[in-house]
Symmetry: none
Subunit: 185 residues, 4 copies
């Protein structure tokens, strides 16, 4: 398990730094301190490794959001909690958050097995629309706009290299913006 996890972490770091194609599997193995063949013993192909990292990060973010919300929470504050927590997580896990975007905009995204596993956010949006707390738009549209807004803020904050308190202020502003944009009436 140790080596497997070591490969995962090293690959993540290198993929973020050099891109998928810019990172040779041999280099990953070397930096992870394992033999070339060991990487392929655990992940049959490079694509499989790329996907495994995505699932790992996705699960981790989801778990971190699950830890601070409850099904019984009211929708409006829950929305704020999730938005804020996501951005803070993103800023404390920049490599991981960047990886998610990099992956989702790449052809690799097509390899994700399509289960019906809805995320907390998926369910929240669906319920918010149904209860007329969010605008009556297709959930898919709301989700897409939300994600792009979150990524936009992340992009700005990281590129402008803001101080922590400024970061919190912007996140707060950003929340007001998206809420004003998506809330019902």
């Amino acid at each position: 398990m140790d080596k497997k996890q070591q490969i995962l972490a090293t690959a993540l770091r290198m993929f973020v730094e050099y891109g998928f194609h810019g990172t040779a599997t041999a280099k990953v193995a070397q930096e992870a301190g394992v033999a070339n063949g060991t990487l392929f013993h655990h992940y049959k192909t490079k694509d499989e490794l790329v996907l495994a990292i995505y699932v790992w990060i996705k699960d981790e973010l989801e778990a971190s959001l699950a830890a601070i919300t409850h099904d019984s929470d009211f929708i409006t504050p829950k929305f704020k909690t999730i938005f804020t927590a996501t951005l803070h997580w993103a800023l404390q896990n920049r490599g991981k958050f960047y990886y998610l975007r990099q992956f989702e905009l790449s052809p690799h995204y097509a390899n994700v097995p399509t289960g019906d596993n809805q995320t907390i956010l998926d369910r929240l949006i669906a319920e918010g629309i149904r209860r007329k707390i969010l605008r009556t738009h297709p959930a898919e549209l709301i989700l897409t706009l939300y994600n792009n807004h979150v990524f936009g803020l992340y992009q700005y904050i990281t590129q402008a290299d803001l101080e922590p308190n400024k970061q919190t202020a912007i996140i707060s502003e950003g929340y007001e913006m998206i809420w004003g944009m998506l809330k019902y009436a």
Copy 2:
């Protein structure tokens, strides 16, 4: 000249379909109907080709926006005009618009020579902030949020494969959203 343009167009199509690394220069040359060496006769390196396509598309979009606006326009309607025109252009030039995103999120973006050539949108936002028509935020933040919103709408419309009239309706809605989000007070 013919061959040069042929290479450009073919490369654009293939880069969008297979990605930068997934597209071999030899394949581009072949599909463009020119010899391997001809491609390198016009563009010294693959990176140079990738950049040339970006500049070409960027200029084309800018020219198309320039054709429908004037420096003397009022800011508020001009903002709407540009937003709407950009999205329509994106939907009629999907490959080109997608290329812009692909390029800007890639390490290639660092190769763009940093001139002070501001776009129409850059100038509009700067002036909007100065005149307190747009929120008093850093121009960079406003621009980032704007761009991500535009791309989010583009993503939704293309993935949902909407009919033309639905497209126009969503673009109109999308405009109201971003305007509500960015306008002063």
Copy 3:
């Protein structure tokens, strides 16, 4: 013992289907339902496995011929019996017979330990020549022509996919041919 035999049988099948080099030991182990290391526990190298299969089949064919002949038989009918039995055995054990050829034409053949263990056929030919029932040619020549004739018939019958009665007829014809070719005067 069970596992050892299981490995042998699985390897035979796969070597015939994919060739020696085309068959990975890991795949053999997997299909045989044993662990990777178990294969190497029983056979020190892949070459050793390849050889073991050859010896196994060779012994089986020899035993099957021994069961229907006696040292005291007359040479002429014994020749016919052996020829006919060999071909029938070959057609009922196609994989095994094909393996023998595949092995003997490969560099692996050099690994067979050279004992003086003569086969029934070897002894029969030697005696036939000595007693002037077979042509006075080097035994090696007669054996080679015999083997190629047998394989030729096998090739034709399997490729033409003949019905059982046709098979018997061809084998009979084939016997007349080789006998006419090799018998004395």
Copy 4:
């Protein structure tokens, strides 16, 4: 062209000595005095190279037989001429002849494009059967037995390492044998 032919000749020699799988393309390129990539510039895959060699040899043998026969020849002497010439060619081009067998018994044989290009021998056998000069068997059977007989003689002569005059004598004997076996009545 020079390099292409150089690759072909080198690969032939190495495939005969080490087998298809035992010969690395990198080694072929090295021995042929060309770069690794050059080999793949001329032959897209190793399989394509293997096939190209087969076609080359096959054509060469066919041309050599065509040079000493005429369509108007009588069948019986033509048969002898071809048989004898084939064996002499085989003994003077041992690598090439061995390659043909090696190839035809391998899975590569399935890659040969199935045209209707009949060889001289194919046509001769078909006509011999029709005119009742050869036994009334399926042409395929006659051809298979013929080929195996030729290869058997080749095998014996090369393994016994006979002197030239002995070779000629055995070939002559071998002709009588196959003719006795295949001629009508």
